[in-house]
Amino acid sequence: MATLRLEKVARDFSDGRQMRRVLFPTDLTFEPGELIILSGPSGSGKTTLLSIMGLVLKPSEGSLFLDDQDITKLSDNEAAAIRLRSYGFVFQQPMLIEGLSVMENILLAIGIQGGRPPATARSKAEALLADLGLEGVGYFQPQLLSGGMKQRASIARALIKDPAILLCDEPTSALDAESGQAVMGILKRTAVKDRRMVVAVSHDTRVFPYADRLIKIENGRIVADNRERYVSQKEIIP
């Protein structure tokens, strides 16, 4: 379990001639056990915020704390080590690596810094796949799976490391409604039952009912931070 805290985090981008601020100083604290949805129109800065939280983009100003450890100015390797240890990522597209089987894609998340994944990892991956409704597809190539199945496989890749933080970028936008509901159900369960911090970027209003906390961003500023629970946990978590 981890707490992520942002203090006056801002980000500027330059097009070579002029500097543009896409995220204004932001203070936020994220706790485990919640599904947090970052919402806002295109270009509002939500993906920038997610990238900074995921340590793949450095803020121009402000500080980022993981369990009170300042992780703002980590070296490239230190940031990679924290991403490997504490983070799981689900992208807009599943981004499974072609050529690797589903199982190898999942195990890569453990073995990317070298070494053979532990013997238990394979059985854990199989259990995860079964849990996500993908029993028996571990040795399939990704191109044989549907979009929804691929996204669920990418969730398995993110969860194989038992990450404290799961960051999801538009996880349902490439899926049909039914698959999208299924994926959100899995994310909700991951947050609440497994006590993880799950942060998802989405502008799809259909996923808002799953949120424990809904943060709205417009023009690089937080305009709403709502903890109202839309749907009872019983309805979503089987």
Binding site: L57, A80, Q92, I97, L108, G111, I112
Partner: protein, 373 residues
């Protein structure tokens, strides 16, 4: 897991893998066949020295290769055979002559005469008959690869070399010189053909006694023959090869074509590896995002290179072995010393790694933030 990932990528990306393989195979095969011909020619250059069976060669002063010595006196042999370090000393005569073919045309040949009964410096391998036929004064040999050039003379056929009657009574195997066709005969016959003065020799070949020290023995020969050049067989072979290599343009020519082959390989490998990495940029960004360090990406790229190079080396050497087997007994000079394949493999690996540098730079620039879009 990183190398496994690299292997899977190589297998999956068939078209780019095939392109990179082509680059590696091109290097191994093109450079390999260039080297095999170069070493084949080097063998030709010093063929008489290398197969003489002697430990030392005595020639006229200041010679620069084994083919360009002045005549020396055979009386030096008397001084040599008295030494305890010398087991035997034999004269060799080397001259030129025109071989009359069946249709009346002439071919220039190099005639090499050796003394009976040892025939040191004479033929060493036969395709037909053996060295005993050289006991007959008229006998000459020609090499099987030169038979067609000389009009396909048959055994026991009588013809002329240097307007002197000779009888072809043996066919040698692999006795070809850099300066052309080699014909072996007795010392007396060569003296007659090349019209060389009695009592002279082109070189004196010396075999040392079994327990003598080669360096000491060579120094002793140099001391008692101050007006001659005394070489160990290895020294003269190296001197002769180096002379032709640097003075005939062979070195430059082969060096240039080898460099071209290497450059072609580098360009092919660079382009195909770059294309491969470019099409995988998103995957490398995903790897970076899920926790790969830059060095992990480098391991994946280099592992891909190693896999491709390994397969390319296998295919390249297979093709090269087929070529060498095919041309081994033909008139194309080809020879591959044992130490060359490991050096060629290592060189190819270095070239492959060099060729992948641009691809590696591209892979390392994959931005993990790029996956959040």
């Amino acid at each position: 897991m990183r190398s496994r990932t690299a292997f899977r990528m190589v297998i999956h990306d068939r078209s780019t893998t095939a392109g990179s393989l082509l680059g590696v195979v091109a290097i191994v095969f093109l450079v390999g066949q260039q080297l095999s011909i170069l070493f084949g020619l080097l063998n030709y250059m010093s063929v008489l020295v290398d197969h003489s069976g002697a430990d030392a060669w005595i020639m006229s002063k200041n010679v620069r290769n084994s083919d360009a010595g002045n005549l020396i006196s055979v009386r030096y042999i008397d001084r040599l055979i008295g030494l305890k370090e010398v087991e035997w000393a034999e004269p060799v005569l080397i001259g030129n002559g025109l071989f009359r073919t069946r249709d009346g045309s002439y071919e220039s040949v190099r005639v090499v005469g050796s003394r009976r009964p040892r025939f040191a410096g004479g033929p060493w391998r036969f395709a037909q008959a053996d060295e005993r036929v050289l006991l007959d004064l008229e006998t000459v040999t020609v090499d099987r690869l030169d038979l067609s050039k000389l009009g396909n003379p048959g055994l026991e056929e009588i013809t002329e070399i240097g307007q002197r009657r000779v009888r072809l009574r043996a066919v040698t195997d692999g006795a070809r010189g850099f300066q052309g066709t080699i014909v072996f005969a007795s010392l007396e016959k060569v003296r007659e053909i090349a019209r060389l003065p009695a009592g002279s020799a082109s070189a004196i070949l010396v075999r040392f006694s079994e327990h003598s020290d080669t360096t000491d023995a060579l120094n002793k020969l140099r001391a008692i023959l101050p007006y001659c050049s005394v070489f160990s067989t290895t020294e003269l072979s190296r001197l002769t090869r180096m002379y032709y290599f640097t003075n005939t343009g062979i070195g430059g020519s082969f060096g240039f074509s080898t460099v071209i082959a290497v450059l072609i390989g580098i360009v092919i490998i660079s382009l195909t590896m770059y294309t491969s990495v470019l099409s995988r940029t998103r995957d490398f960004a995903v790897m970076r995002a899920i926790g790969a360090r830059k060095r992990d990406i480098a391991v994946v790229v280099f592992s891909q290179v190693l896999v491709i190079t390994g397969i390319g080396l296998f295919l390249g050497f297979l093709m090269l072995a087929t070529l060498l087997k095919t041309t081994g007994r033909s008139s194309i000079p080809s020879y591959f010393p044992d130490y060359v394949p490991p050096m060629l493999a290592f060189g190819t690996l270095v070239v492959s790694l060099l060729g992948s540098i641009i691809a590696l730079r591209t892979a390392l620039r994959a931005d993990p933030a790029a996956v959040f879009h």
